[in-house]
């Protein structure tokens, strides 16, 4: 089963290397990993999606917890949370296909953020499955290149995960 982990870490140099290196050498299966600043300047939040059974998950959590720079780990799979992924997709768009693609973009509530004579770039934010669905449709027109952020997630409840006991 897939688990989404929010890993709060000290914003120290090398902390991403420590986290990524540990995951690699303990041979855990990672689907996505993304990191960014938080409401606290000295804290970074890493969202990791890990695939495995409960025992694998416990090992990931326990091993990551041992890293001195890891402040806290929250398993967001266990509680209602908002999950988002963002994609930028550059798709072939000649004059004759452009309007078709615009229709698709509207249906998905995506945005066109750049256009030139041969391609356009579409931005879509949503759950992973929604992005997967858009990609599948756009494949008919030819995806030139694309990038995804990997999943980020936040619990719905009031209060911050970092304050939990």
């Amino acid at each position: 089963m897939r688990h989404t982990l929010a890993v709060l870490v000290e914003n120290h140099p090398g902390v991403l290397v420590h986290v990524a290196g540990l995951i690699a050498r303990r041979a855990f299966n990672i689907e996505s990993i993304s990191a960014g600043h938080t409401e606290e300047p000295d804290m970074t939040r890493i969202t990791i999606v890990v695939e495995g059974d409960d025992r694998d998950l416990n090992q990931v959590v326990n091993q990551l917890s041992k890293l001195v720079d890891v402040i806290k780990i929250i398993d967001l799979t266990q509680e209602p949370s908002i999950e988002r992924d963002m994609a930028l997709i550059k798709v072939k768009a000649r004059a004759e296909t452009r309007s078709h693609i615009v229709d698709i973009v509207e249906i998905f509530r995506a945005k066109i953020v750049d256009v030139n004579r041969e391609t356009m770039v579409i931005e879509l934010t949503g759950e992973e499955s929604k992005i997967d669905a858009l990609c599948e449709v756009l494949q008919d027109y030819g995806i030139v290149e694309m990038v995804r952020t990997g999943k980020i997630a936040l619990a719905r409840r009031p209060g911050a995960a970092k304050d939990d006991e």
């Binding site: 140099p13 090398g14 540990l22 025992r55 090992q59 326990n62 890293l67 402040i71």
Partner: protein, 562 residues
């Protein structure tokens, strides 16, 4: 003061009495500051020797071992020593120099990314980028190294940090949001284990190195004695319970005793205490303790369920959990006699299948060397080993009566560990007998440290079990590779260890017959100075019993005279 002076001041504040190290380019400011300090520094002849020296000191004393090395090759030479300490949870702080900050990342002379390289083999590491951080980082480094599950911490310090000027204030306390080593755990976990133990009829305590690092040996022995529970040890736990204790069945695993291995296969409750269920212990993991519920007491939550699935777990310091378990058990109406049948059974196994070997009157059997060293030294002092057959025979045939008297590289299995680790042990305990049991393979891996031993006139007794070969490699080649001894003999060009000892300024002695063996050991023990004993042992000897890799613990190849 300068950053370098601040580092030395931090070490003084931490009560460091001994540093192992090797100077070089970027650490010259540090060494200059050290020149004015009362802390003793021991110059090893290779940085690897410095790392193992600090490790040996830490294992012998339980204090944090400290070593210095310069940037680049100096620091990379520490790597094997750091990995060795990490695998065996030994507290160490390694201070490495780094090139000046403006040239980091430019492939500068003697530059190596040491925090990158050591990330997987340290408990934590630091690259100091701001001179003002030095006191805090060193305070944290020592705290992290010695608390919780101990381990090595690397602090990498660029040369311009050493030369910068700082206002020195040593912090009173450590504030680490992400590091909260736990002492006491949950009492309910202990109660659940007590309940299980009160119901078990064939309980077994399996102890690991954690018992020694937690200082919980006495608690463990008391628990075993009160409830008449037999005990088996991992290599790292030897000494936690006296070898000759009536409840101690010896070492378990690949070269464990028959009784210990059969006890695992037949117990109904196996209680792992500060052990990590390493593959050399468990054999085929799916066949480990097949009839037992498994309980695990450990300070490191990541060890639980890592290798074996456990039914009961108690997370916390053993110095808390073992006494708490003892208290909890007192609430049960415990009939100790219900373990009697089980105890009789394991003792029977012990009687039926003791460790044995075919004695000889003409050649020196390696097992005899261990027995004679043990007998003639009256089991005094500390024993250090290298890695290989001699290590396993030491574990099997030497008697240990107290913790921290066997220093050996268990997890990483580092050949070359012994000589520098013995230096650390002897410097920690100048008045104790320190014996290094090594092989002709291992000893050559850090032979240069004989110079350090002679420089400081450390009265270490080195016994080389010389079989002109890599004994453990040949044993495997004999048993599993059709006796094809591929590149494992030192036949041609074998070294003369007596001459080597003499060239370094130590005493060299040689024994080639059983009679000479006794004589040489007696003579060596009487010499108040470093001695190297070149003991020619018979080459075709196997370490037995042996559980082949991947087999279950009851599939032992037994040996001896039968």
């Amino acid at each position: 003061m300068t950053g370098a002076q601040a580092v030395v001041a931090c070490l003084e504040k931490e009560g460091v009495e001994l540093i192992f190290g090797y100077p070089g380019g970027v650490v010259l400011p540090l060494y200059d500051a050290l020149y004015d300090s009362s802390i003793r520094h021991v110059l090893t002849r290779h940085e690897q020797g410095a790392a193992h020296g600090a490790d040996g000191y830490a294992r012998a004393t339980g204090k944090v071992g400290v070593c210095f090395a310069t940037s680049g090759p100096g620091a990379t030479n520490l790597i094997t020593g750091i990995a060795t300490a990490n695998m065996d949870s030994v507290p160490m702080v390694c201070i490495t120099g780094q090139v000046v900050m403006p040239v980091i990342g430019k492939d500068s002379f003697q530059e190596a990314d040491i925090t990158g390289i050591t990330a997987p083999i340290t408990k934590h590491n630091y690259l100091v980028k701001n001179p003002a951080d030095l006191p805090r980082i060193l305070k944290e480094a020592f705290y992290i190294a010695r608390t919780g599950r101990p381990g090595p911490v690397v602090v990498d310090i660029p040369k311009d940090i050493f030369t910068a000027t700082i206002d020195f204030v040593y912090p009173e306390e450590v504030k680490l949001r992400g590091y909260k080593p736990l002492f006491a755990g949950q009492a309910e976990q202990v109660d659940a284990l007590a309940e299980a133990l009160s119901k078990a009829s064939k309980p077994l305590l399996f102890i690991g190195g954690g018992v020694i690092s937690a200082g919980a040996s006495a608690d463990l022995v008391r628990l075993a004695e009160t409830y008449e529970i037999p005990v088996i040890s991992s290599l790292m736990a030897l000494g936690a319970m006296p070898t000759d204790h009536r409840l101690h069945l010896g070492m378990v695993g690949m070269h464990g005793t028959v009784a210990a291995n059969l006890a695992v296969m037949n117990c109904d409750l196996l209680i792992g205490v500060g052990a990590r269920f390493d593959d050399r212990v468990t054999g085929k993991i799916t066949h480990f303790a097949p009839n037992a519920r498994i309980a695990h007491l450990d300070i490191d939550p990541a060890e639980i369920d890592k290798n074996v699935r456990t039914h009961l777990r108690v997370i916390g310091d053993l110095a808390w959990s073992l006494p708490t378990l003892q208290q909890s058990l007192a609430r049960y109406d415990f009939v100790v006699e219900k373990h009697t049948a089980w105890l009789n059974q394991v003792v029977q196994w012990q009687t039926d299948s003791p460790l044995t070997y075919q004695a000889s009157e003409t050649v020196i059997k390696p097992q005899l060397v261990i027995q004679e060293l043990n007998r003639l030294s009256e089991g005094r002092g500390l024993v250090v080993t290298d890695v290989g057959q001699h290590q396993m025979w030491t574990a099997q045939y030497h008697r240990f009566s107290r913790p921290r008297t066997l220093l050996t590289s268990g997890g990483l299995g580092t050949m070359g560990f012994g000589l520098p680790a013995a230096i650390g042990a002897q410097l920690a305990f100048p008045d104790e007998l320190v014996t290094l049991i090594s092989g002709d393979g291992s000893i050559m891996m850090n032979i240069q440290e004989l110079a350090t031993i002679v420089e400081h006139q450390l009265p270490i007794k080195v016994a080389i079990l010389n079989n002109n070969a890599l004994g453990m490699v040949q044993q495997w080649q004999r048993m599993f590779f059709n006796q094809r001894y591929s590149h494992s003999s030192f036949g041609v060009g074998a070294s003369d260890y007596v001459k080597i000892a003499e060239a370094f300024g130590a005493t060299g002695l040689r024994a080639t017959t059983p009679g000479e063996l006794t004589e040489v050991i007696t003579q060596a023990l009487a010499i108040n100075g470093p001695v190297v004993m070149d003991i020619h042992v018979c080459a075709e000897e196997n370490v037995l019993p042996m559980v082949p890799a991947g087999a279950s613990l009851d599939q032992m190849i037994e040996g001896g005279v039968g």
